[in-house]
């Protein structure tokens, strides 16, 4: 086929230039099909490698938390589970990541011999500085999200969205998306977006999946409208 194409091309050129000698035959004109296919495969393979393996490494920058934190140890010490530290305020709002003042009740001075404990007490408690935690679940601000509605209303477990972080012994490396600035945990560890657990991703589709699955069609209190307006006020 490629040979025919070459001849046709030559004919055209000959037509255009009269009787002048034709260009020499191209080397690809014979036996090039395999080579071309090989290049296709190389292109395909390289781009797949880039897309699946290199791209995620380039897209995310790794950042360490100010110091490590052991949720497991703390969970064993408290009576009220996650809500002991991540509590609801009197007005129903959720406190989120604890403030320094909550920690200093116990950690007014170094407890134990851990290096991280020393960093915490010396650099933050003594200096009265808030710990600049990198929050894995931080979302863009265009969404109205109520923890109370999910925990008290829908009676969800914390782990349904946050996974087993409560029983982890150390904090994983925080990976920040260089384009959006948000954590990798929002899109999910799997770059393809495939998830195996409810807590693997925290994108809007994941919210919607649960809302649709549970047949939730609550309208917004403020706007009285359904769908987008439940969360995007």
């Amino acid at each position: 086929m490629s040979s025919n194409e070459g001849n046709n091309q030559k004919d055209v050129i000959d037509d255009a230039h009269g009787a002048s000698p034709a260009h020499p035959a191209s080397p690809r004109s014979s036996g090039g099909g395999a080579l071309i296919f090989l290049f296709f495969i190389i292109g395909l393979a390289l781009s797949m490698v880039v897309g699946w393996a290199v791209f995620p490494k380039v897209l995310y920058s790794k950042k360490n938390q100010p110091f490590d934190f052991n949720h497991q140890v703390h969970l064993e010490q408290v009576d009220n589970g996650c809500e002991s530290c991540h509590f609801f305020r009197e007005d129903g709002t959720f406190s989120g990541v604890p403030q320094l003042a909550q920690c200093t009740g116990c950690h007014s001075e170094v407890l134990g011999e851990s290096k991280d404990e020393a960093v915490f007490v010396e650099q933050y408690v003594y200096q009265n500085r808030e710990v600049p935690w990198l929050v894995y679940s931080r979302q863009p601000d265009c969404v109205f999200f109520s923890h109370a509605a999910h925990i008290y209303g829908a009676e969800l477990e914390c782990a349904t969205c946050h996974g087993d972080i409560g029983t982890s012994a150390s904090l994983k490396t925080y990976e920040a998306n260089r384009i959006t600035g948000y954590s990798r945990d929002i899109w999910g560890r799997n770059i393809s977006g495939i998830k195996h657990h409810t807590w693997d991703r925290m994108k809007m589709d994941d919210c919607a999946e649960c809302h649709e699955g549970a047949g939730i069609h609550d309208s917004s209190v403020q706007t009285g409208r359904d769908a987008c307006f439940v969360c995007h006020k």
Binding site: L35, F39, I42, G43, G51, I191
Partner: protein
């Protein structure tokens, strides 16, 4: 092996296919869409626990209690304080937007000294020490030349420790030229003094009235204490009370009123007196009250019978006498009728004859010093500072009459005549301006600015870079109202004495200083009697020692309330309400206030109007408010004038057309807005636009109506009573 073009293309196609089969494009697309929303200027409220700080709003004379929601150290929302006697949880659009004034770009962030020409906007930041010593040096210099009277001071109100510190400073320094910005308080104070011999203000019990007869007062657009008036209006609607609006333009208040009487502009006093005529002639007045509590009733009755006959009333007001009669009789028949005086928000003092006529109506229906009526509320007496010693220089300075002539034989009924500023500014060598923006809000603002240029030394204490601050030599920025402590006496028509407390909600953001402290420091730097008149180490100490037993109440409740001034509190020798005597009679006989320049050259009349959406006093509109203004008022940078379609068609002007509006004092480009709600031959323009200072959200939008309207002196009092000005559109 040589790579062919075909191999390369194949590689690219393979690459494209591979890329499409990888997450890269889809993930990038998603990330790009999130990135595109990450604008740095998108306000993101801080996360954290909400706390509330209570304070008092000072953005208008209303004195509303506010509750400011904070997250950490950041104020995020201003709400009305629940249970507050004035606003009980309500808040107006300006109060709500106060955070934009706090965090916005118009703040003066440090003491500034002018380094360019006046108004050029070139400043050098200086230290507070230098700022205070420069003011003290200049003022000390004037005193040493024996000219303390050439110092003048402009304040927005007189009550409260800060204005009183300035007043005390002026007296001990030796200058009588302590000026207050004009407002209906000027007229009401004179009326209360003439009628009831009370040094104080009018208290209007709108909470208990069941019939409000409003002589152009913008009940729904910022009159008095705006939230209080809104609430009163709502209550009247719910309880089937009545609101009658007398106004030549269909304002929001007129539109929502039970009845709108479209009076010829300037005819209000005649209308009030014609109503008095009806009430008296048909014997619908409160006879018991007239017999026992009114002095001069008979002579008043004779005066209205002679001068305010049906014929003259209809001619002057344009309202059919049957309508006048019906309205007057309904007013007289109501249980607790209340007549309100003051056009719009009450920024122009207006005609003394009119305010006396309105108060006479209240007296005729027996509603003076009664629940639901008009009361005379004496000036607050909590400021009792020790007597001060003045030196010979001050004594000599104080011998001079006030430059504005207020209180002199020429103007015995006026305490302040600041609209005369352009004419009297030549006698001023140094000027202190506190919490007001005279270069924008005084009538004929061009002339005011020109007068500022002639004053050798101008000091502004403004927190914002406003028009007056732009004309200053030195700016000693006051803390923003959400950053400072201060007593806030409520003067806007509340029927009992009230003082709110403005408290710091956030720590000062910039290198600013409390105006009270600035005054104390300047006084101390001047040494001698001036320094010794101010024994307090700082303003906070002064405030606490001044308030004495009230401090505890104010600090815990945020507001102190005096006893309800129910019952008789006329201070007149007879103890009665003086409806008529020689002085008042002369005022009723005085000429009506006419407009400037209405003649063949200026066939139309321009009238200003007020809108709750446009701040028109000391502060300018924050961006939140500008966004709420209709595009029939402002579109892009163009301001509109309302005009009746009949008049516009007569002049050949199309709706939306750009025209030149010219008056005897100024000229500006405006656009035409057809409105059936305005009387023919009038054009109306809102106050609060056309700023030249402030930020890009406000400056250059529309036209400042004050640059087109000059003052017109009330023949009876000398107060500015301009309700319009001759105008033409071309």
């Amino acid at each position: 092996m040589k790579l062919s073009r075909r191999c390369f293309l194949s590689f690219v196609v393979g690459g494209a296919a591979g890329t499409a089969l990888s997450p890269l494009p889809w993930k990038l697309m998603d990330d790009a869409s999130i990135w595109s929303q990450n604008w740095p200027w998108t306000p993101v409220p801080p996360d954290g626990e909400s706390t509330y700080a209570s304070s008092t709003c000072t953005l208008c004379p209303g004195g509303c209690g506010i509750s400011v929601r904070k997250v950490g150290k950041r104020a995020v929302k201003i709400e009305g304080a629940k249970g507050h006697p004035i606003n009980d949880g309500g808040i107006c659009i300006l109060g709500l937007s106060g955070l934009q004034l706090l965090y916005g770009p118009t703040r003066v962030q440090a003491p500034l000294k002018r380094v360019g020409k006046r108004g050029e906007g070139k400043w050098a930041a200086i230290s507070w020490k230098q700022a205070v010593s420069e003011v003290a040096a200049k003022l000390g210099d004037l005193r040493s030349q024996g000219k303390p009277q050439s110092l003048a001071c402009i304040v927005p109100k007189e009550e409260g420790t800060v204005p009183q510190l300035l007043s005390r400073f002026m007296r001990v320094y030796g200058s009588p030229n302590f000026f207050r910005m004009p407002s209906i308080d000027d007229a009401y104070e004179t009326a209360v003094y003439l009628n009831q011999d009370v040094a104080g203000r009018a208290g209007l019990d709108v909470e208990q009235a069941d019939f409000i007869l409003s002589f152009g007062s913008a009940i729904l657009d910022g009159y008095g204490s705006p939230v209080r008036m809104f609430r009163a209006n709502s209550r009247l609607k719910e309880t089937h009370g009545t609101v009658i609006q007398i106004e030549s333009r269909l304002s929001n208040t007129a539109a929502k009123a039970d009845k709108w009487l479209a009076v010829k502009p300037g005819g209000d006093a005649d209308l009030a007196l014609a109503m008095a005529h009806v009430i008296i002639s048909r014997e619908a007045y409160d006879k018991d009250f007239a017999a026992n509590k009114i002095e001069g009733f008979d002579s008043f009755a004779r005066m209205v019978a002679e001068k305010y006959t049906p014929e003259t009333a209809t001619a002057k007001t344009g309202i059919d006498f049957a309508v006048i009669s019906e309205t007057a009789m309904k007013f007289a028949a109501a249980k607790k009728p209340l007549a309100l005086y003051g056009k719009g928000k009450g920024q122009t003092p207006g005609s003394l004859k009119e305010v006396l006529a309105v108060q006479a109506l209240n007296a005729l229906v027996g509603n003076i010093n009664a629940p639901g009526g008009a009361r005379a509320v004496p000036t607050l007496d909590y400021i009792n500072w020790p007597d001060m010693e003045t030196d010979a220089i001050a004594a000599n300075g104080l011998q001079n009459p006030r430059l504005d002539g207020a209180g002199t034989d020429q103007f015995p009924h006026a305490r302040h005549l600041l609209h005369r500023f352009p004419a009297v500014a030549e006698g001023i060598e140094a000027l202190l301006v506190a919490e007001s923006n005279p270069c924008y809000s005084l009538p004929d603002s061009q002339a005011v600015r020109a007068a500022f240029d002639k004053i050798p030394f101008v000091v502004s204490f403004s927190s914002y870079m406003d028009e007056t601050a732009m004309k200053a030599d030195l700016i000693l920025p006051n803390h923003h109202y959400l950053e400072r402590i201060e007593d806030v006496p409520v003067t806007a028509g509340v029927p009992r004495p009230m003082v709110g407390l403005c408290r710091p909600v956030v720590a000062p953001l910039y290198n600013t200083q409390h105006l009270g402290d600035s005054i104390l420091q300047i006084a101390k730097a001047l040494e001698g009697t001036t320094a010794s008149a101010f024994p307090w180490p700082d303003y906070q100490n002064c405030l606490k020692t001044t308030l004495r037993d009230k401090w505890q109440t104010l600090n815990t409740k945020g507001i102190w309330m005096g006893s309800e001034a129910a019952g008789e509190n006329n201070e007149t020798p007879s103890g009665k309400f003086v409806m008529m005597n020689n002085v008042i009679g002369a005022i009723f006989m005085a000429d009506d206030v006419s407009v400037q320049g209405q003649n063949a050259d200026f066939p139309l009349v321009l009238i200003p109007y007020d809108s709750i959406r446009l701040a028109s006093r000391y502060v300018g509109d924050p961006p939140f408010m500008v966004k709420t203004v209709s595009d029939a008022v402002i579109k892009g940078q163009d301001g509109f004038v309302e005009i009746n379609p009949d008049t516009a068609e007569k002049l050949g002007l199309a709706d939306g057309q750009k025209v030149q509006l010219t008056t005897p004092v100024g000229s500006a480009k405006v656009r035409v807005h057809y409105s059936d709600g305005i009387m023919p031959d009038l054009v109306a323009m809102p106050r609060g636009l056309g700023h030249t200072a402030y930020d890009a959200y406000l400056a250059g939008k529309g036209v400042n109506v004050n640059q087109l309207i000059g003052p017109v002196e009330d023949p009876a009092s000398g107060l500015d009573a301009a309700w319009g000005i001759g105008a033409k559109l071309a």
